[in-house]
Symmetry: C2
Subunit: 235 residues, 2 copies
């Protein structure tokens, strides 16, 4: 199996970096091939911009998604984008290790998604969710957050985490492009944990990844239930 | 009233830029003071990093939120952060104009939030939601998206927009720091609209802003319902 990890943390010896390293080791122990895009270490540029396109479909006015399609068809996208797209397309499993900031991914990873998840090969029109361009591949995330589990779920202060606050990522981003998305590995309350508790979390992550194939996936919308305008079919 | 707009779009003559300009004009017509942080035009750096701190509480290991508190107390934060924090603190109303990318704000705006919404003056511990540091101020957003209204809401393909896919922003970010958050102005299906339809949307935005004080706000969690661990109180 080919696994590609996308890692986003500014501190090289963070707990999230330890999660990344544990993940690499766990996959290698299974005999999988593992690559890593360490976004801060690579100096990945998170800003989408006109210069992402070597040749413009419309040089006068930038509509990013339309230029993405043109840039992909002509292979004139910026080399840093093409390199990442190729890694994604070559992988069977995409993994993401990051700290949750403001109930989302860090800006550097948000920018990676905006520049790399191309309109055209990744999604477009009714080619979303189960019909998205990455259908057949799987994804998982392992993230840290400051909160405790009791702050999430029905009746809690922040509401549901995975399908509420983080719905934009699991469904709206990973699921949207056709990935089958495993329920994530969440490391709660990380800044307040001692070394033993952190080690126990890393062992938990290793167990999670060893049994990744059996981890449940999110239920995503079925395109068969929606018409050509993506509105619910009347039955 | 002092209004500060944060604008995030890479194209200078985009529809979202027209929304920003219409907003500036609408507030000025009311007699309000208006400032704008145009993030692309400013070259705002969206990457949080160790160099954001002129003086470190812990030079050996970066825990960003803890360094934010220290940097604020000692006024040793990077000047580009301090300048934005001062604009936010001086405003009565914060406005955001942006295209929705991947059911969230553009990376450049996500990075602005990560660097500017400081742990300490903006939030911390139980100082969130109605008790957050920006309590007493208001916020609104005017955004574009490619989808149509029929793709959102109960039973739709993507589910609820404002309190579902965008919950992380309206509740988890703006509401979290104590802002009273108006229901947004959403411009649907923008890439596919002709000039007349776009002009009608801009007129709609002007009406929305002229009556902003009467626009409904999101219901946010009441801290009185939660204990010192932020878990629901038993009654």
């Amino acid at each position: 199996m080919r696994v590609h990890l996308v890692h986003a943390h500014p501190e090289a010896d963070s707990f999230v970096a330890a999660m990344r390293d544990r993940a690499v080791a766990a996959f290698r122990a299974r005999g999988d091939e593992v690559g890593v895009s360490d976004l801060y270490a690579m100096g990945f540029d998170p800003l989408l911009k006109a210069a992402d396109f070597g040749e413009r479909r419309d040089p006068g006015h930038l509509v990013y998604a339309l230029e993405q399609r043109h840039g992909w068809e002509t292979r004139t996208l910026a080399p840093d984008i093409l390199a990442e797209v190729d890694k994604v397309l070559a992988a069977d499993v995409l993994g993401f290790t990051f700290p949750v900031f403001w109930f989302g991914v860090p800006a550097i990873l948000k920018g990676w998604i905006e520049r790399v998840f191309l309109s055209g090969p990744f999604y477009g029109g009714r080619r979303i969710y189960g019909r998205g361009g990455l259908a057949g591949k799987r994804a998982f995330a392992a993230f840290s957050l400051g909160g405790r589990p009791g702050m999430f779920g029905p009746g809690s202060i922040h509401g549901e985490l995975e399908q509420g606050m983080l719905r934009h990522f699991f469904q709206g981003t990973l699921g949207y492009v056709g990935l089958s998305v495993h329920r994530p590995f969440a490391a709660y309350h990380v800044p307040y944990l001692d070394a033993a508790a952190r080690e126990a979390l890393l062992d938990g992550l290793e167990d999670y990844l060893r049994t990744l194939d059996d981890q449940p996936t999110f239920r995503l919308p079925d395109l068969a239930d929606f018409d050509e305008r993506l509105e619910p079919r009347r039955r």
